[in-house]
Subunit: 268 residues, 4 copies
């Protein structure tokens, strides 16, 4: 069965900063009810990269309290410290340096600089400043940003190792609000593009992957589901099947099967 072999053989793995990953789903650690649920959900997600909000999570800062790394071990996962809760470039840079220290020189970080506490929308100006400083300082920066294709390209040109546009505001669950922009970003990119934020349910992750994203990062969609562990499994499947569908090449949309041409932008 020649085709069967083609199924498993024809995708290249996700490579970030020179390291290869089988999973294209990245997950956060916030909002779970306890560390057991955190561990079980992350296991079910199949994620290999786990992002940790340094300012909210104990990864060694407080020696006497439970340490997340006891549950999500750096031996098993690539720990991706992030700057959630930072509203200035300065704070974000300082947070990354703290993380590097706590994690023994680890230099892969997820940069996010937010514009306000109400919407948690990215602050692009500060993000650009922070990215530049971090890169100069030797960090490998995966950068959270808006779905602005010009800014996405600039972050890539600056040397970010992955660009992570939002699908929708953090914690909104609105899905990919502007697939057109995500598609424009992907068409122009030479580094991995991962949708970060906005996923609310499995089909949102599938849509992101069908657009050609290299991966998806999420937290609330799993942690705030009624059954987080089951949703984690759903998301694992959603990312995998979306990737498969992208590679398989979908049929074109038509008004009906006998229509002589696909949907052409006139009525729809």
């Amino acid at each position: 069965m020649t085709n069967s072999s083609s199924i498993t053989g024809n995708d290249t793995p996700l490579i970030i900063d020179g390291k290869t990953y089988q999973s294209r789903l990245l997950v956060g650690t916030g909002k779970y009810k306890d560390l057991d649920e955190t561990r079980d959900a992350i296991a079910a997600s199949g994620a290999e990269i786990v992002t940790v909000a340094v300012r909210r999570t104990n990864i060694g800062q407080n020696a006497d309290e439970p340490n997340l790394l006891d549950v999500i071990s750096p031996d098993n996962y690539t720990i991706l410290p992030n700057t959630a809760g930072c509203y200035t470039a300065k704070d974000a840079v300082r947070t990354c340096r703290l993380a590097r220290e706590l994690l023994g020189g680890h230099d892969l970080v997820k940069l996010e600089v937010l514009g306000d506490q109400k919407t948690l929308y990215p602050d692009i100006t500060e993000t650009l400043v922070a990215a530049e400083e971090l890169i100069k300082d030797g960090f490998k920066v995966m950068v959270y940003t808006t779905d602005d294709p010009i800014i996405a390209k600039r972050l890539e040109d600056m040397g970010c190792v992955a660009v992570m546009p939002l699908g929708a505001p953090i914690g909104s669950g609105l899905g990919i609000r502007n697939p057109y922009n995500i598609r424009m970003i992907i068409e122009n990119a030479n580094v991995p593009i991962l949708v970060d934020a906005g996923v609310g349910t499995a089909s949102d992750a599938t849509v992101a992957m069908e657009l050609g994203c290299d991966g998806v990062l999420m937290n609330t969609a799993i942690a705030a589901a009624q059954d987080p562990v089951l949703m984690a499994r759903a998301m694992k499947g959603a990312v995998e099947c979306g990737r498969d569908a992208f590679l398989a090449g979908r049929m074109p949309r038509k008004l009906y099967a006998s229509a002589s041409s696909p949907i052409d932008g006139t009525f729809f």
Copy 2:
């Protein structure tokens, strides 16, 4: 890990006409380039029910030609004869009887009566007539229909064993055009509801399952993909993860995380 056990344990299987299925993806056999591709794609889909267009496929009518059942064996699959190509109740009933004869008394059928050759949209009037006659004649009828909730309920009340509303016209690949109607049908139903027709890519199948459908039937989305076998695998995953996400209970949509209430129908 208590949650992990809940993952695999909490779904009830799909039951149609008293028989239990692990897979919620049903597939057709048309439009493949050859029987090898048909076999490989169906294997990759994980489908246990395979629908066959009796008027277009040799399942024994022509003793001297290749028989689909040699590739898709009734030992391995539940064969679901369908009435594709029938435009009247009379033709559809006759086709089902032929199928029963060819398949040694097999009485599970998929009824479809189409309204015209251009759109392949169902003819509800003729469908109701055919369903009644087939049920009287002892058939177990899975019925293809529009997304009209009143008609869906009538077909259930009449005794159909499953109701299969379209997501969009056959072969259109437009996805679930009216999820509101599909949801209304599901809310009122006591038999399995399966979306049949309209799926174009994996996320369409995921969306159908997230709405609470019991399963999805498709053909063109797999067979007309550039890589049908890979798309078949995508669809297997898409149905599974959509089911998981439905059971897991998604987070509510909000304009942003700190919004005090979900999207409420005023602006969005």
Copy 3:
């Protein structure tokens, strides 16, 4: 200015049952707070055809009570009696006959037969029966139906003078849920097609007209707005500008201006 003259000159008026109308907006009379608001909103809408639920509105049945026709006079408006609240063909036919009697032989009616009280979705089977009987009995039938293109064509073939598919359930305000079906109905039609039910705000009416509808009928969207009279004026404009836009022929959609071809159904 040659073009300016073309603006006002190039549309043909709406003709229903041989009578010409300048307005393509039809309105109902239910759910207003009082008769003054009813009158003012209808005036602001510019509607020339006003539909009246015979089973809920006094148009002469109760000689001692306020009569709607004192406010909405048949001298100024085409009164369109409708069968709202009828759940069987028999009830609908009886209601039309009562209306004809009350209105002095008036034979233009809007037929609606509903499937249940919860969703107010049309019952197509009963609608077909009632339409046939009413046409035999000399009525001119404008018929409320689902967005099923096969049924729409059958109602036209039967002799209905206008076919009125829903945009969404009565009173839902969801807008045109399935523009693809509405477009299919229009492409096949030789009688006026009017979207009836589902409009929630002005843009919904504009979208209906841009799809090529001949008119739009609504009630709740106006009567349940916070300012019904202002919303009535909005709807007048929405129908007019949607008609203009349809006739003007929109630009094609593209991913961006320099894209060599329109959106083609692959990614979007």
Copy 4:
């Protein structure tokens, strides 16, 4: 008729830089087949503010060639010079200064700095630099930007007299791709918010106004329609009815009329 008076009385006019406008539709002058069509379309649009691409249009730079201002007279319209075709802050500032000189000290400008020639997407970084310099230099800046709510607020805080987020890329005709972001921008704004770019047909403009925008600016949707003058009239109506609908306060969306609560973000 008390309500009728409320119709015309309850909106405040659009005020930009202290000047009052009755029309909320702003139009460009590009892409028309000749100056007659330009003049007729603009007249039909009812626009009072007309934007002119200084680098592409003769408004006096070339004394021997036809001057747009002979057709679109500053006596009748507020001329809004724009910096279309500028890809750096420096170019944009220089272009505004040239315009001010040509227009006798006129200081109201529309700033746009684009990121690349392929997508015509705004370059936010350069836009911020140019806006700051122009404001220091005494210009009144209406600024074209992305739909990023943080940047929109920053441009307002800087002193721009109006903020003009895109609905979709210039010349795409895709409509309001992310109404959620537009709504967030409006909720936070104290200066007029006008959607600029992306409108493809009348309903797009209506949707923009229903979201609460103060106005809409467009060019291609009119100029590239098959009948630009008729489309101009459509757009006039579309903006007016969208404004009316916003002020009138729409009914909430429900799955069907008897549903006890509006759409709540769970399934839809």
